[in-house]
């Protein structure tokens, strides 16, 4: 073991004397700082803006004057999703999904206005995030620093000297591995700072430390790849050429290829397409505005029976409100079937994409990172579902007010004249709204969601370490 430590120490001395290594690390840190700063500023502004819009929207809704309750159903309400604490490091899907949603009766709107939609278009890689820097560019740093670890000794014939002096090949590789892992640990410092910062904004300690751990494993995979190439190949130039090629394929090509494959294998019907299919089904449910619709004859009959009266005018409650409740409930059931189907299809497609993590650790770490940060597809769907809960909640409470606080007679006569129009209203005190606060999944769920990606990363790491140890036993000068 002491031999390995000596090797590790020597490796560090070599780096500290290499101008190239220092320059590359310096550049990396500079870019990382700049991107982190930009991202932090943007996040701060956005979260401020969204919180502001959210309160604004709630106050506007609550301060509406007395009016017909169904009008409030159509008046609607906005929800805004505040960024997750760890989005500071990995904004994930936040930049491509809408963060604003308009909630109203009879409809499930889509989340609109993603950050990318209005931004300047400067190519596919211009949306830099700190997470992306770790996923894509940190491996380059490891390659530049570590590619020469073994092959340098081989080219300078010091490898033969070392082995002849009785340093085992395994001890040598373990030493180099330790040196590089220590470097990786240092590289993770900015992430550790981000994670610590997220604790102050309500992130749990286990999620934050898991996040750091996942990136450590990912970068360790690259350390393994780098050392393996350095130990197997004869020339420094071929080591760096092969590693650079591997980097190109694993970080840039395969993830994008996986996108094409997934969208071809499991194509996703567009929203409009689904809606058109759904429309026919919705028509069978009936229109809640129309009392005479045959679908509601049953409702009418059972209400009359329940209250023991003969005419709907004699009911204690406003049948139009009851019908609106029933219609909204039925419609929502149908809408939810389609929404769930859509979300399942998306999740299926995403799972297919995630499976490619077996082929490239970059996809695996990206998946795990988003799952932990709460910026993944699952959390986007959570946002949609929570918004829908809020929607159906306030719509149905308004429909209840419609049934209980507005008389049927006033209601049907509302269009007769100006005075009737005034009478068909309820008090503004009935406008009630739950405050919208996006609830992220629990720590354990998020860690579980990251599970399959993490197991991919661990498999990569285990395989590489096994290969390294095997190669260490037969290392030749």
């Amino acid at each position: 073991m002491s031999a390995a430590l000596r090797v590790a120490k020597d490796e560090w001395r070599y780096w500290l004397r290499s101008k190239l290594a220092l320059a590359v690390v310096g550049l990396f840190v500079l870019i990382l700082l700049a991107v982190s700063l930009l991202n932090a500023v943007r996040m701060h502004e956005e979260s401020h803006q969204r919180a502001h819009h959210q309160t604004d929207s709630e106050q506007t809704f609550l301060s509406q004057p007395d009016r017909h309750p169904h009008r409030m159903v159509h008046y609607g309400h906005y929800v805004f999703r505040a960024p997750m604490p760890l989005a500071l490091f990995d904004p994930g899907l936040d930049s491509v999904t809408g963060q604003t949603m308009f909630l109203e009766g009879h409809r499930q709107n889509s989340a609109t206005f993603s950050a990318t939609s209005g931004s300047a278009d400067l190519g596919g890689l211009s949306w830099l995030t700190p997470a992306m820097i770790f996923q894509i560019f940190a491996p380059l740093l490891i390659i530049v620093l570590g590619h020469s670890a073994v092959v340098r000794e081989r080219e300078a014939r010091t490898l033969a000297t070392l082995l002849a002096q009785g340093v085992s090949g395994r001890a040598l590789l373990v030493g180099k591995l330790l040196a590089l892992l220590l470097f990786v640990a240092l590289l993770l410092l900015p992430l550790i700072v981000s994670a610590a910062f997220s604790l102050g904004r309500g992130e749990s300690l286990s999620t934050a430390s898991f996040m750091v751990g996942v990136y450590f494993v990912y970068l360790a995979v690259w350390v393994g790849l780098t050392l393996l190439a350095s130990a197997l190949l004869q020339q420094r130039s071929s080591v760096i050429a092969s590693l650079a090629a591997a980097w190109l394929v694993l970080t840039l090509v395969l993830p994008a290829v996986a996108v094409n494959v997934s969208s071809q294998i499991a194509p996703l019907a567009g929203k409009i397409e689904t809606e058109l299919t759904m429309l026919t089904e919705v028509r069978d449910v009936g229109d809640g505005h129309d009392v005479d619709d045959s679908v509601y004859n049953n409702v009418e009959a059972s209400l009359l029976e329940e209250y023991g009266v003969d005419r709907i005018e004699d009911l204690e409650i406003n049948i139009r409100g009851v019908l609106a409740q029933n219609a909204e409930a039925d419609l929502t059931d149908t809408l939810n079937v389609y929404a769930e189907r859509r979300m399942n299809a998306e999740a299926h497609q995403a799972a297919l994409l995630g499976w490619h993590g077996w082929l490239t650790p970059t996809l695996a770490v990206a998946d795990a990172s988003r799952a932990l940060a709460g910026t993944d597809l699952a959390h986007y769907h959570r946002f949609l579902r929570q918004a829908e809960d809020l929607r159906i909640g306030f719509v149905q409470s308004l429909n209840r007010v419609h049934a209980e606080e507005l008389s049927y007679i006033d209601d049907i006569n509302r269009n007769r004249d100006e005075e009737s129009w005034e009478r068909a209203r309820v008090a503004a005190t009935n406008w009630q709204l739950d405050e919208f606060q996006f609830q992220p999944a629990s720590t354990s769920t998020r860690i579980a969601n990251a599970g399959s990606s993490v197991s991919m990363l661990l498999t990569w790491l285990a395989a590489l370490i096994a290969l390294l140890l095997w190669n260490g036993g037969r290392l030749k000068p």
Binding site: S110, L128, L140, R236, S237, A244, N260, V261, Q349, A366
Partner: protein, 418 residues
């Protein structure tokens, strides 16, 4: 000995270089896969449009058959608008993955509808597609760096450098020949699949020629960069690391900085502002005196000054008037949003001059009609079509023209101009 014979000699030599041959096959594979899946995607989008056109027509016909007045006819009839993929979209999907290219509109306030998003899977949109533009803009420079960085360094480290120069008289023509053949090989492996796919998709020859010219210019640019670095007497790993550094700078750092600067220099109203303002205007109108709605409406449409509100609680004319007034209240915000995006795109165009990968991607997307300009052009078409719908319905709603179902056959049809 002729120039051609020297090239032939060098070519024969190059074909024995395993690394080169492998890279050529790999590039051919990348390019073929990119255009092949691009074609499949375009086919899917066309099928989807065909399905939508039919379903949309059916739905509208069935809805209209139930309506007995102009107001309901306008309310229940949805109209499909779409931006069909161009004959070159397979090569550069660009904004089609991020921005909506299809809408179903009705005659309600447009601002509430035009920003409706019909997105694909966000998980896929985040990573981005492996299309031809991506392969050329980002992958190709790295492949060129791999193939060209050790042009001289490898000969130096193998001790052949002096012998080679002494044999040729001057080295420059030798390095030039070797570089031309390597880059040429990469270029051919990239372009051939594109041309074949262009033939399959019926792309206009002019478009293909422009795309080819762009790719050639881009490959020449990177070849010069690689040669400039390859001349250095430093070792191959140092040269390669420097070239990758240049790549990182040009393809990510500068564009990311440019994007941050552009977005900061040109603020645009947040989408939420537009939606909420518009929505509030429409909603508040219910409680406002009818004149408050009709005054700004008539100001815009003096021809309907004669319209008289029926006096009941609800009136279709009034209803559509406040839909339009809703649009009018956010006109300023909305055009600021459009102008802002135009300005950002213009600035991005200038900035991309110092970031060739971004420039190439933008130019290919421009050829493919998948750039920001095309998105804005489609939005303009949607607006124009929505205006047509209003022009068609307003005589019925405000001019008292009696409802005649037969007239609905003359409903405006959305026709993409592309």
């Amino acid at each position: 000995m002729s120039r051609w014979a020297s090239f032939e000699n060098e070519l024969r030599f190059l074909l024995r270089d395993r690394a080169f041959v492998i890279w050529i096959w790999v590039v051919l594979g990348f390019s073929s896969f990119a255009v092949w899946t691009g074609l499949a995607e375009v086919r899917q989008q066309r099928e989807s449009i065909a399905f939508l056109l039919e379903a949309d027509q059916k739905d509208r016909t069935s809805e209209l058959s139930k309506q007995g007045d102009w107001g309901s006819a306008a309310y229940y009839a949805f109209h499909l608008t779409y931006d069909p993929p161009s004959d070159f979209a397979f090569a550069a999907m660009g904004q089609r993955d991020a921005a909506s290219w299809k809408h179903r509109l009705r005659m309600l306030a447009l601002e509430g509808q035009i920003y409706e998003h019909d997105p694909g899977n966000p998980e896929l949109a985040l990573i981005g597609r492996f299309d031809f533009a991506f392969v050329v803009a980002f992958v190709l420079p790295l492949v060129l760096a791999f193939l060209l960085h050790d042009l001289q360094a490898s000969e130096r480290s193998a001790g052949r450098f002096n012998l080679l120069i002494a044999s040729t008289g001057r080295g420059r023509s030798l390095w030039r020949r070797r570089a031309v053949l390597r880059s040429g090989g990469v270029l051919i492996a990239t372009i051939v699949p594109l041309l074949i796919a262009g033939g399959v998709s019926g792309t206009r020859v002019a478009t293909l020629a422009s795309a080819t010219a762009l790719v050639v210019a881009y490959v020449v640019f990177w070849t010069f960069i690689c040669l400039w670095f390859a001349r250095s007497k430093r070792s191959a790993p140092v040269i390669l690391a420097s070239l990758i550094g240049v790549w990182v700078l040009l393809s990510t750092v500068l564009p990311a900085g440019g994007r941050a600067i552009t977005d900061r220099l040109v603020p645009i109203p947040t989408g939420a502002e537009i939606l909420m303002t518009q929505r509030e205007a429409v909603n508040d109108a219910w409680d406002l005196p009818v004149e408050d709605t009709m005054a700004p409406f008539v100001q815009r449409h003096p021809e309907w000054t004669g319209y008289v509100y029926s006096g009941d609680g609800f009136d279709w004319g009034w209803y559509y008037a406040f839909q339009q007034v809703g649009d009018q209240t956010v006109e300023e915000l909305s055009s600021a949003y459009t102008a802002g995006r135009t300005e950002r795109d213009r600035l991005a165009g200038w900035i991309s001059i110092i970031a060739p990968p971004a420039l190439l991607e933008r130019l290919l997307q421009q050829l493919a009609g998948t750039d920001m300009q095309s998105v804005l052009a489609y939005e303009a078409q949607v607006r124009a079509f929505h205006a047509e719908l209003r022009t068609f319905h307003y005589p019925g709603l405000f001019g008292g023209e009696p409802f005649d179902p037969a007239m609905l056959s003359a409903l405006p049809q959305y026709l993409p101009t592309k």
